[in-house]
Symmetry: C3
Subunit: 347 residues, 3 copies
């Protein structure tokens, strides 16, 4: 089980209740009143514990698991060991996520403003919001209800934050409007000037950055991420986007809803991603491009042209993934033919 | 116009005054007493607003713009719509930058040290400098006049900072000497130990890093940037360098004046960039190299050898950009010839 | 010598004492009572100063050096100039590191908790530990003896920290157990949620991250690094690992002892590195891989498969370094043959 110093477990829950939470059906005649006390991975789970099978690769671990109950896709339910209660759903990982949230709800810190926080008297703090020691809330900021502002975070002048949003320790926000149920992780930087200046041999000249950052509802912004405010238009992070650690988002960038931006990738100024684009780790997109809905950009790619909806691209410069694979294979063949002593291993 | 919650507009200004500010000439017989109240992009600008045309690509938007006045290069002035007042200059973007700075000057925070800041009694704070709540100024630090130390920033022991410099929220500085008119953005880390140790199977042994970071005047250091102090020599950032977010600068690196280092790029230890080098996003330079004046390193490049002044390089390992383009084109041709079903799109 | 505003020198030391510190032998009949006052590089060193020769490339500088004494490998000792005292060792750089640590010991800040720190009454602070202004120590945290918690750092609820560990300014830790003699640099983020969620068109669903971060003894974690806590298992950083700035470590990653992770590289979830792996700058490893002991991953590589112990890989996708070099050479030849005007320079 999770280390009780750091995690507080709720429950227990009956199988019936977990089926409701997960949107699953109770399978194989299991007892709806079976009591579950925790979640655990397939290999570690035992009596009283709920696990899940999401990937056909782990079907052997499933068949051998001692978990009391398991979330499973209907196609794989038949592989369950005898005596395991099943929660059958076409989305077992989503079901697991929801059940795990039930067992381990976000802790609610003591509501109220710490006397060791620095809150400007003109700032508004919603009901049930906690402000931790060392947090600074500047003049005119408006923070919704049930928010959590962690230690040493800084909320700049006139920033607006919706309900149920969490701002992590040491994060800083300025020039932005943030929605509800957003989680800004530790050390993220939101709203600073974009990288805009007139290059000049006599000294580059800063162009004032007159836009904002708009973060819609249900967004996650990872640790030490940087999101610059717009140069005139706004920088916009669409509803439900998930942004991993150390990502850079340039000025005027728009992310449509549901995009997933993996660690250490970067998006240059004025590029627009339609909804549900996935940008894998350490990838980059140059400025002023359009990336179509559902496109997938492979890790370490360098995108220099628009990408069609649903396309998968890879490489630097990026190209369709099949083309990239052909080039990699071709180079391998050619260099083995030409070279000597090659052993054909490729890492 | 810019959101008044976050931006305070100055002005209005006459066309005559803006011509002085921009170093431009009033064209096409426009009235020098015409009053301008704001800046705006070509498509959005209307009566009372100043715009600019910097790129021939936007000449149609210029011809159709309803802006009251526009900064424009002499070669394109003839394309102006009737009734638009012109400010003619060979550097219209620089002119726009200067005018926009006039309309939107940096806000001056209330001068003085917040009672919620933690300033060591031996630190010296210049006249007109503001120190925000939660900022920590350690013993012996000397901060110039009219500086701005934002919330929760940390200025280490004996650090020196020149006049008119701004240190962003949650940034931290140690072992460094910083010039005038420098802007260190939120979360930047300056002066920590470089990555130096003697590798040893029995346990790597730290080598004390005995140098400093020297930041000359008019430098910008982006959000969450890391600049390590020298190992013995200093790490030096030359006058007027612009460093974007999440850049890594290793120990003993020297940047000459006017370099531009774009987001997420990195420079390894002891490498020296001459003046006005441009390092595009996510590029890297290995250690102990010399990069000539005005060289341009393309995005995601990996530079493993010295680069000549004025050269443009691309790729990993980096090569002259024409050679890189030839290799990309060649691989495309070869793989299409060998493969089947290729459609020739490249992303 | 090092700037006395930032560095406090100890000593002087006799040659005899430095030989003990370095594990070296006094060579060429030098006087063991010779007094040394400082360290310096070969070209700069003079009377009273100790230098080192670690690399055959600098043997001319060694032969011309005016250093009073020098650490040198036995094979090169014969090249010493007349009158230079020698400390002979097979590990001169390690010897230098140890001597430099003696001349420039870590400064010990005033012990005790600053009245401007925010320490929860249930936290435990060890003897001789200093807590700087603005630092926040949350409920139940346990911090060992002789630690140093710098300004505006945040130590989360129930976090445990061993003896002699330093947490840099503005760093934040949660859900973690940290060993002895660890140095977490400024702005590092340890213990936040891993990037785990069930993707869903109706809105991605967060999967609670129920593991911790375990940092063993003698580890360094660079500035603005991010280390996510495990999803269920822990994220583990093995004894003596050196992690440079702006590195990303995903959930469930295990680093064996003595790994070196250079700046801006990233390791995706659940990947395991055996001991003494070196990951050079801006490299990436995808998830769920095994990297063998002593493997070396070149800068900017993208590792997509397991790597054998001792292997050296390069490229994206990564391959054995000899194969990578053959491909680079082949492409160069082919593109010069096909193109025109190529000059054969490669950057």
């Amino acid at each position: 089980m999770a280390d009780p110093r750091f995690f507080t477990r709720a429950g227990p829950f009956t199988l019936r209740r977990l089926a409701e939470i997960a949107g699953a059906e109770i399978g194989n005649g299991a007892d709806p009143e079976l009591t579950l006390e925790d979640v655990a991975p397939l290999e570690a789970a035992g009596p009283g514990q709920l696990s899940f099978l999401d990937n056909r690769r782990y079907v052997d671990a499933f068949a051998a698991s001692k978990a009391a109950a398991c979330l499973v896709h209907p196609d794989l339910a038949g592989r369950a060991p005898p005596g395991m209660a099943l929660l059958v759903t076409r989305k077992p990982y989503k079901g697991y996520a929801l059940c795990a949230q039930a067992f381990y709800p976000e802790p609610s810190p003591a509501a109220g403003v710490s006397p060791a926080a620095h809150v400007d008297p003109t700032a508004e703090i919603g009901v049930g919001t906690s402000v931790a020691p060392g947090a600074v809330i500047e003049a005119g900021a408006r923070i919704g209800a049930r928010c959590r502002i962690d230690a040493n975070a800084v909320i700049g002048r006139n920033v607006q934050i919706g309900d149920d949003t969490r701002i992590g320790a040491c994060a800083s926000l300025s020039h932005c409007v943030v929605g509800a149920r957003v989680h800004v992780y530790t050390g993220a930087r939101i709203g600073q000037d974009g990288f805009g200046f007139a290059m000049d041999a006599a000294g580059h000249v800063r162009v004032p950055q007159l836009g904002r950052v708009i973060i819609e509802d249900d967004v996650e912004v990872g640790a030490n991420v940087t999101i610059d405010r717009g140069a005139g238009p706004d920088t916009v992070i669409g509803r439900g986007c998930m942004i991993d650690n150390l990502v850079q988002i340039g000025h005027n960038v728009h992310l449509g809803p549901g995009c997933v931006i993996v660690a250490q990738s970067g998006i240059s100024g004025s590029t627009k991603l339609d909804h549900h684009v996935v940008l894998a780790a350490q990838a980059g997109i140059t400025g002023h491009l359009k990336i179509g809905a559902g496109a997938r950009i492979a890790a370490q790619s360098g995108v220099m042209r628009d990408v069609e909806p649903g396309a998968e691209v890879c490489g630097s410069p990026a190209m369709p993934i099949r083309q990239f694979m052909r080039q990699v294979a071709l180079l391998g063949r050619l260099s083995r033919g030409k070279g000597s002593g090659g052993d054909g291993r490729d890492g």
